[in-house]
């Protein structure tokens, strides 16, 4: 049965799910991210780095215990929806997400981070023109996934339009991104790498890569991760073995004359949560 696109109950159910997903994401790290952090802390050889990782693990426990956000930069919400065949794409979906973000901002609370890009005037509720970003894909069930993205790491993300002959230089581009970023993005980082598609798609793929489980890596991902960790930037740029916890790659085919590569840098607090919408 086709759900009425203007259905207020759908919008309201989506608002509930968005709010719940944000609460979950902000106060508790996903198990795969936590496992990667614990593994890194156990393997780290540098004394300062070990202390930094110890603070991070202590902070994660504090946040969960006190039900407060892991980081004061509660980010801007990036939202991914999967829509089953019986639900049409409608403004009600976007309105529901928007309402969920507004409610979460007041209730959790979240820091209001969304401003006009030029006047810098704060909207006060983490929504605004074009925000939150909502990405929609078909799926079996109606789910909402949130990825609250902080600015420290987002600001050092990069896109490069490489030459088709430069495929072998992708590890260099990825490592160079972290060389330029240093301690600014709160390492140990997780890098989402988007390869191929078009200029805009590569960036979207890089961000979607951050939704993948970080405690497993393919050979190419591990090669990229090793290249980054060889830099010795360490937690918070204070030196050490652990600069990247994980590198995740998503790719798409592209124009024969193009090789877009995007690196979306994510701090250690790779916050994400998925909630199925009850309807």
């Amino acid at each position: 049965m086709m759900v009425n696109p203007a259905d207020p109950t759908l919008s309201s159910a989506l608002a509930d799910a968005t709010e719940r997903a944000l609460l979950e994401a902000e106060i508790r790290l996903p198990p795969d991210v936590l496992a990667a952090l614990r593994r890194a802390a156990a393997a780290e050889r540098d004394e300062i780095a070990r202390r930094e990782l110890g603070n991070i693990l202590e902070n994660i426990a504090f946040a969960e215990e006190r039900r407060v956000p892991i980081c004061q930069d509660t980010g801007v919400p990036v939202v991914y929806l999967t829509l089953p065949p019986d639900i049409g794409l409608s403004p009600a979906l976007f309105e529901g997400v928007r309402e969920g973000v507004q409610r979460a901002t007041a209730a959790i609370p979240l820091r209001p981070n969304v401003v006009d890009p030029l006047t810098r005037e704060n909207t006060g509720d983490n929504t605004g023109a074009g925000m939150p970003a909502v990405h929609v894909t078909p799926g079996e069930r109606l789910t909402v996934t949130v990825l609250p993205k902080g600015a420290g790491s987002e600001n050092v993300s990069r896109i490069g339009m490489l030459l088709p002959s430069q495929a072998k230089e992708i590890p260099k581009f990825v490592a160079e991104t972290m060389l330029l970023a240093g301690g600014k993005p709160c390492p140990p980082v997780i890098l989402g790498v988007g390869i191929g598609g078009t200029f805009d798609m590569a960036a979207a793929l890089a961000k979607e890569a951050l939704l993948l489980p970080v405690d497993v890596m393919g050979d190419f991902e591990a090669e990229l991760c090793d290249a980054v960790n060889a830099l010795g930037i360490g937690p918070m740029g204070l030196g050490g073995d652990t600069t990247a916890l994980s590198v995740k790659v998503k790719r798409a085919d592209c124009h024969t004359a193009s090789l877009p590569v995007a690196v979306n840098v994510q701090c250690w607090a790779c916050r994400r949560a998925t909630v199925e919408v009850k309807r």
Partner: protein
């Protein structure tokens, strides 16, 4: 505890800070207690225009935009300090002895701190941990909004690493130089290909 007392393994600093910070070296572990003031980009600009609203002699300025609810600090981790590189000199000139933040600061700040003060690194993202050791005491420039206002905070043994000392020592720069060398060796590039 008076400023400079060594309690346990880390030296405990208490504001207002004095000459004891000049003895610190990049890489040392310290804790910081006493009154500290948050300031981000907008607060720096406002203080340049209207003057510093608190007693800056021996003060510690914390690069932080906390989450505050009902007069309580919910979470309060450090923000990226490098954004304030060009906005920091006047604070050090006014007697500020410690900058607290994450990610390190530029060479102009390293030079400005020489003989005057230190940059202390707090683990980025550790906002719940930091807030557990802080009590909110007051606020200046509240009209700038939650993230940009100057919050007056009583800190209790914040765990910090000396990132930049008063002798020109900069742990972040040392790590960056090593990272550059590693990069150029691994990818066989010339030293001038990365800015």
């Amino acid at each position: 505890m008076p400023a400079g007392d060594r309690g346990g393994e880390a030296l405990n600093l208490t504001t207002p800070l004095g000459a004891e910070v000049l003895d610190l070296r990049a890489g040392d572990t310290v804790t910081l207690s006493g009154t500290i003031y948050t300031a981000r980009d907008e607060a720096h600009l406002r203080m340049m225009e209207e003057g510093i609203p608190f007693d800056s002699e021996g003060a510690a300025v914390y690069h932080c935009g906390p989450v505050v609810q009902d007069g309580r600090l919910v979470v309060a981790g450090p923000t990226t300090s490098a954004r304030m590189n060009r906005l920091t000199g006047f604070l050090i000139d006014a007697g500020v002895r410690a900058l607290v933040g994450k990610g390190g600061m530029g060479q102009e700040v390293v030079e400005h701190l020489r003989g005057h003060g230190v940059y202390l690194a707090l683990t980025g993202g550790c906002a719940a941990l930091a807030a557990a050791r802080m009590t909110l005491k007051g606020v200046y420039f509240e009209d700038l909004g939650m993230a940009e206002a100057v919050w007056v905070i009583e800190a209790d043994h914040l765990p910090l690493t000396v990132g930049i000392d008063a002798h020109g020592g900069d742990l972040f720069r040392a790590v960056r130089e090593k990272a550059k060398t590693q990069f150029h060796q691994r990818f066989n590039t010339k030293q001038d290909t990365v800015s």
